[in-house]
Symmetry: C2
Subunit: 362 residues, 2 copies
DNA sequence: CCATTTCGTAAATAGAACTTACAAACATGA
DNA sequence: TCATGTTTGTAAGTTCTATTTACGAAATGG
């Protein structure tokens, strides 16, 4: 490790403080970060020169002393291109500024399942189209897609679009002159919950949609696993009493219990749709219990259609989870819905990935 | 982050390289670490002055050029005191040198369950006795105990010895003039598997003894969880079909299925003891499947009585685990017994904790 | 025996953060 | 009104770390 690595760390520390605490003076920053006023001033000077931070004039006076000059990340002048390829019916591209607001949005219909070439061309076109709508400097491109994705942005497998070993990151970087980050959709969503939702650094997010996936944060860092397949929880068998047949051919996969299409189908067929939801929630609790026990996760976030997840489903999941894990403390596991809407979590996740990769903001 | 943090990192890097690769020259170290020869020489000089590293004379000549002077960690001249409080019948203390060899060993009977004062006094006496047997400089004291232990060495709960909020680390540091590290037994064992066993940085170790616990490494670092209770997997309910009654009052806890006393009892009572083992192995597989899916762990290590775990039990666990997780790749999960004997894993874990805390060696 | 290679270190340089010092700009109280 | 104290931001000098450059020592090999 070299001194310049420490410098980069401190630079990120300054940006992270500004991002989460909002505009403040150099002296405030020094107090928050623990660095000296001199060092902080130097770092801010560098960030000003790089156009990442801007001065916002003096603060309205509060006490004695020279008035402070407020500095902040250039939240309006920097933008991020985010792509959400996890939608059931469409692929979405968006331009976000650093407040997290969506400044432009593009959606294209999802290509037919398995048509891998069409999917690739479609994504490249969507990326170009979205990027062209940026109205300010683009910090980077974040892409969140279902499937197993390596840390250098190669989609190892993505069954529904039919990709195997597609180097999505380098393909996009060839076309767009900006750094590109690619990751799994549920993993991205988990990062969003941490960076933009203020949750603790140890959390599991379960994304329930066409499929079921999860994202895991340990000590504030995304976990990718030994084979980049962390979060692939959809085809884990849950329970010891069979269950609905899954598309993969087996019985009792979590995805067979929870995936939205299957769930809606079973609800429509049943007399008592509440009991279908209760069963599904229980299954989630059963699957999560060993994970909670092993990792001591205290924050579990669900993402998916609110009309399905909120209420009976959530209650059953919490109750099952608590009944199946013995917490040695009074403080029990929390299970909750994502604070972000189901339609923007993944976009925000792609956004958060760029924040992390480019500015070191988590 | 300050420059001296980077320095400390590089110091640890040098030590880590020496520890794992063995004695080598300063020039070799420079090549291995990526630092320059000059910097490496400087760091080695510091470590020599601190008495952590020693010169071992010139290397037998291999080619042209000035002969290299070999340096190595002072493997014989540094010792570690390790305490294993996880035994069913006794508490063990040991002095290890940096080769990992046990140089002295002390064992005292375990106090009666729940007698917390006797347990505390006994442990303090054991620590003093063990430390007095060290024949060289003691780097630190590592303690591995069952129960939930905070990162600053307070035993939050340890049901069988009846401890609640016992500040074990500060108690021991008052008595012994050496740094003390305290952690959960299974967590320590997991670290041993990584530091001393050469496994990958993402692994789960399941320790099966009087109770059942686990230790989890993510990216080469021990995971403690939000409430320091990571690994507490013993009282997770497994399966949806009941199961043996557990000491905690519920049915189907993993511990009720797997704990050694219960297992031996059921085996003695059954006609077919193999089927008892098979059932138990299956239960372990059922419990681990969601963990493997979520974390993409590819290395699972079991620690416990070999006569029980090797064979039918292990085979059933692997088979169940593979059947219940759908690996997107050909490369399946490995499940294996610990390379270390059941009697020394935890001691080695306590040892590894000291290596990590004191020298930055992982 | 001399060119070549490799090792370890000395000296000088560049980068990063620190301490010290100071000017600017404000509030407050005599 | 004016001296005093407070806070901010920066300039100058110091310390620490790692680098580049250079060199002597000690071996091999033609």
């Amino acid at each position: 490790m070299l001194p310049e690595h420490a410098r980069a760390h401190n630079r990120a520390l300054v940006l992270q403080t500004l991002f989460h605490e909002g505009a403040m003076s150099r002296a405030d920053l020094a107090r928050e970060t623990g660095l000296t006023r001199v060092t902080t001033s130097d770092l801010v000077g560098e960030l000003l020169a790089d156009g990442i931070v801007v001065e916002q004039g003096v603060r309205a006076q509060t006490g004695p002393g020279k008035p402070a000059i407020l500095v902040d990340i250039d939240r309006e002048g920097l933008q991020v291109v985010a792509l959400d390829l996890s939608g059931a019916t469409e692929h979405v591209g968006a331009v976000l500024d650093l407040t997290g607001a969506v400044r432009a949005r593009v959606a294209v219909p999802r290509p037919a399942d398995g048509d891998s070439d069409a999917a690739r061309e479609g994504v490249l076109a969507l990326a170009a189209d979205t990027a062209s709508r940026a109205t300010a400097r683009v910090l980077g491109v974040g892409v969140a897609a279902p499937g197993v994705i390596s840390r250098d942005g190669v989609v190892l497998t993505a069954p529904n679009v039919g990709w195997h070993g597609v180097p999505l990151r380098s393909l996009l970087e060839e076309q767009i002159s900006a750094p590109v980050v690619v990751a799994n959709d549920a993993n991205a969503a988990a990062l969003a919950e941490y960076t933009l939702g203020g949750s603790s650094g140890d959390l599991v997010l379960v994304k329930i949609g066409r499929g079921v996936g999860s994202g895991l944060l340990v000590r504030g860092e995304l976990t990718r696993g030994g084979r980049d397949a962390a979060g692939e929880i959809g085809h884990v068998t849950v329970g010891t009493d069979g269950g609905p047949r899954c598309a993969c051919g087996r019985e009792g996969c979590l995805e067979a219990w929870l995936a939205v299409p299957a769930l809606r189908e079973r609800m429509a067929a049943a007399d008592d749709s509440e009991s279908v939801l209760r069963d599904a929630g229980e299954r989630l609790g059963i699957a999560l219990a060993p994970v909670v026990g092993t990792l001591d996760i205290d924050d579990i976030v669900l993402s998916g259609p609110v009309d399905l997840l909120d209420g009976t489903f959530l209650d059953a999941a919490v109750a099952t989870l608590r009944a199946r894990t013995l917490s040695p403390f009074a403080d029990p596991v929390r299970v909750r819905l994502s604070a972000h809407g189901d339609d923007v979590v993944v976009l925000r996740g792609a956004f958060a990935m760029v924040l992390d990769a480019r500015l070191g903001i988590r």
